[in-house]
Amino acid sequence: MTESAVIVLEELPPPPSDPEYAELGGVPMAAKYGLKQSGKRPALLDYVRVLWARRHFITGYATAKNRALYSDAKLGQIWQLLTPILNVAVYDFVFGFLFNQSRGVHDFLLFLVIGVFLFNFLQTAMVYGSRSISDQLVLIRALHFPRACLPISATVIQLQQLAFSMVIVLAVALGTGQTPTWRWVLVIPALVLLFLFNTGMAMIVARMGSVLTDTSQLLPFILRTWMYVSGVMYSLASVLKDHPFFEHHPWMINVAYYNPAALFITLMRNCLMTNDYAVKYAWQSPLYQPPGAWLIMLGWAVLVGIGGFVYFWKAEEQYGRG
């Protein structure tokens, strides 16, 4: 039964070829039986279709991840509320008390919580988005699903966290004597646009993070700079007003106000805060809303949302590489 002869690799006969393959060749044979090139990126519309079919995976994965987030902590799910509260307490102490930034801003606490929570949504969506591919290589390699599920899931997780934060925002608004008006309803379309924008950003950094590991190193610095130029903890007006640079380059004021992070935050503040002196001081008011704000915001959301999706889809076949 056993071969006792010595085996010399060079002397082995060439392996037999499949007769049909030898006759037809690879590509015609694949065409004959309707086989598809493995790992080939589907067309954009097909991609959208399979992505929609996996929507339960996206939400199921996000919910499971969210529940697991604080499972190691003793206080458990209470941290969902405690984390944003502590965040605001720190910022209120530093910027409201130490730096006394509340000058000129009525209801500084409400002003602060909206800024901090909304920017935090953008920030965490991008940080977790950038790692969503590189951290889940095992899952990507074992099971086949459209990879865009992962950065979208990362953003959904942050949206779920934002829901807790929004409860605090509403509590602060009511607690500081704001009366609900019809403008409060506008919070919902604003959040939809912000979600679209953040998903696009998450997909862009997810693709970058999947090939360039330096992305996650660099991202915190970019995000911190973005936070400080977006009037999160203080009003943009208080910085722009007497600054020599902006006096010489007045067009930069528009750049500052139309930057998506500042625009989203300003709009949300104007939805929830009474704003009777913005008209008087124009761009020097802490709640100044630049003209066409909603339209520009829609533009940002569509541009970055769709652009990010297409950018991510273009490298779909490469994400398993690691």
């Binding site: 039964m1 056993t2 071969e3 006792s4 002869a5 010595v6 085996i7 690799l9 082995l12 392996p15 037999p16 070829s17 499949d18 049909e20 393959y21 060749g25 690879g26 590509v27 044979m29 694949a30 039986y33 309707g34 086989l35 598809k36 090139q37 493995s38 790992g39 080939k40 079919a53 996996r54 339960h56 995976f57 199921g60 994965y61 499971a64 991840k65 529940r67 697991a68 499972s71 889940q136 290589l137 095992v138 899952l139 990507i140 390699r141 074992a142 099971l143 086949h144 699903f145 599920c149 360039l212 076949e317 490469q318 398993g320 590489r321």
Partner: protein, 304 residues
Amino acid sequence: MAEKQTILPSQILRAVQGVEGEHSLSDEEIVQMRAQILEERAKRRAEAATNKPTVIVDNLNIIYRIHGAGTGRGSATGALSRIVSRRTSPTVKEVHAVRGISFVARRGESIGLIGRNGSGKSTTLAAIAGLLPPEKGGGVYTDGQPALLGINAALMPDLTGERNVIVGCLAMGMSKAEAKAAYQGIVDFSRIEDTNPHAMSLPMKAYSSGMAARLRFSIAASREQDVLMIDEALATGDAKFQAQSEARIRELRESAGTVFVVSHSMGAIRDTCDRVIWIEAGKILMDGDVDEVADAYETWSKQS
């Protein structure tokens, strides 16, 4: 009869060779069973030869490009200018891992890939799964989407076993109801609750590598995959689970799927595969019947 089914082809082969004498079978029975195994295998292979192909590997070449090899980290300014100008780094080393492999796999085939470490087995599987883009002039064509099970740790380490099963099912494209329906079957098959009744409510990072491998295999094997590829994924399971998952592999093969197995255990290869491809230095050395190729490989391994 029941006794007969638990005796695996590799055990019979060893008995024929007279290597292991611990069994209750007479010599005639052994010869008879060996003949039966060979006959069934020849029949299966003859049938499979005319089946529809599921995987066509056509002159596959895979080159890994490894950054920063040789000269350490390189200078920061150099790296920046390369990123800006999109030039490839001079320190990139190319590793030609798979060199012009061609073969066709058909429905009902179970194919073992053998060869030394670094010979290109896992790279070939990754390319079939569509994870590694092939070089120009060749390609991999598949029927449906192949699933690849590797040796790696948990799917989603911070989630509980229960969540891993449900979310894993959803990722494979099941609906919520289908995932719920499949759940108990997967847990039962994995036998994870045999040793610890609370195992499913523990995060998967708390599992031993064997437990994690069992659950992962159970999830991926729960669905009728057209092409299932197992890369040493069963090596960490205990003997009982290995026997059970090998039975599942034979089942998948019978339900007209194609199964690829990478393993260094010739016993596992002989028990699950009809056909074996021996890969050495990125090229196919032999491609044929399991006994013929495995014997040659074992002889060659011993002589050097």
